[in-house]
Amino acid sequence: MTEYISHSLEDTDRIAKDIASTFKGTEVIAMKGGLGVGKTTFTRGLAAHFGVSEGVHSPTFAIVNEYKGTVPVYHFDMYRVMDEDDLYSTGFYDYLGKGLIIIEWSENILEYLPEDAVFIELSYGEDENTRIIKRM
């Protein structure tokens, strides 16, 4: 496990790019963390490393956004996905191995994630601008 401390949006962005530089672009990134903790900012950083410069926003209603980068980036929000039937009907399994898969609210589908998924946990730090980012 690696732990990073962020003191700003810029820090979170830089840490995300740092972590992304270790990826090939076919990984499944399972993110966990409460509202406003920076999941989407973190995702923007990951996507930016793979050449996605704009348009990254949380796919709460669409469930998945696709971004064209140097590899395809698939951005999922599993907030409304409650069981495996739901997951299947998002087409999730069809995306595995086709590009970088970034999942917000991955705790909802924990038992269905591939064994080699990369876990990122974001949590609040001591003050309102501080975040703790753990990579597992």
Binding site: D83, E84, T90, G91, Y93, K98
Partner: protein, 245 residues
């Protein structure tokens, strides 16, 4: 009878035109999930090089699952669309059953398996004798461990051949059984439209009535009830633990 058959239930997609027992043409691609862009042009090209139009077609046969959610949806939607426009009769064929027809000349037990992820497969068993396919169980989602147990109990001593994109993971599972299980050669291992047509012909010959386009539905074969129940139990347990804290 001219049958236009379609399969896009997994990563490959294909369309075939058969006239009675003759395969007039078949278009096959295996280029990952691009079916929404490629399937309709494939059908258009297939008809055009065969000198036919949809008006010449008597029946549309489509593999309606199990398989990839997106793939199955695209195949069934395209079939429905063409059938609706020209009011053509349709037939839905199980993807697993269609693959049994790949081995139609070999007397054997066909174990059709498609990867359903996390050590599960979509599966059905068939017996082929004298060029006829007999279904031995319904399409289902089953764990590799349970499938292995069933193969060893029920089919020991018989010639069992695996077809489908779950063949490799199934083979790995059953390798240490004291019986021989074979994998179909690569060229006839996977689902394809011409086999969907062959299955449709057998269904017609057996007296099955075709469907209207509106009656054609995907069959996703949802994952096992047991798993969903387990998850519900876990949720209840979690909730009571949360309350206790």
């Amino acid at each position: 009878m001219i049958i236009l058959s379609i399969d896009s239930s997994a990563t490959a997609a294909s369309a075939a035109l058969t006239e009675d027992s003759k395969l007039v043409g078949e278009f096959f691609t295996n280029t990952d999930f691009t079916h929404s862009r490629t399937l309709a042009p494939m059908i258009e090209n297939l008809l055009s090089v065969s000198g036919k139009t949809t008006y010449d077609v008597d029946l549309i046969a489509v593999s309606n699952g199990p398989g990839s959610f997106t793939g199955v949806r695209i195949g069934v939607s395209v079939a429905k669309g063409i059938a609706f426009a020209d009011d053509l009769p349709c037939m839905a064929i199980s993807t697993l059953e269609s693959m049994a027809y790949n081995l139609i000349l070999t007397d054997c037990i066909v174990c059709a398996v498609m990867d359903a992820r996390r050590n599960q497969v979509y599966n059905a068993m068939f017996r082929i004798r004298f060029g006829e396919v007999e279904r031995l169980c319904e399409d289902r989602a089953i764990s590799l461990a349970n499938l292995k147990a069933e193969i060893s109990e029920k089919y020991n001593g018989q010639r069992v051949i695996l077809v489908g994109d779950g063949s490799t993971i199934t083979m790995r599972e059953v390798m240490d059984l004291p019986m021989s299980v074979e994998m179909a050669p690569e060229s006839i291992r996977f689902q394809r439209a011409s086999s969907v047509a062959a299955a449709a012909q057998a269904h017609l010959a057996a007296g099955e009535k075709p469907l209207k386009s509106a009656e054609l539905l995907p069959s996703y074969l949802r994952l096992s009830q047991a798993e969903r129940e387990r998850k519900e139990k876990e949720a209840v347990k979690q909730a009571s633990e949360d309350n206790a804290n």
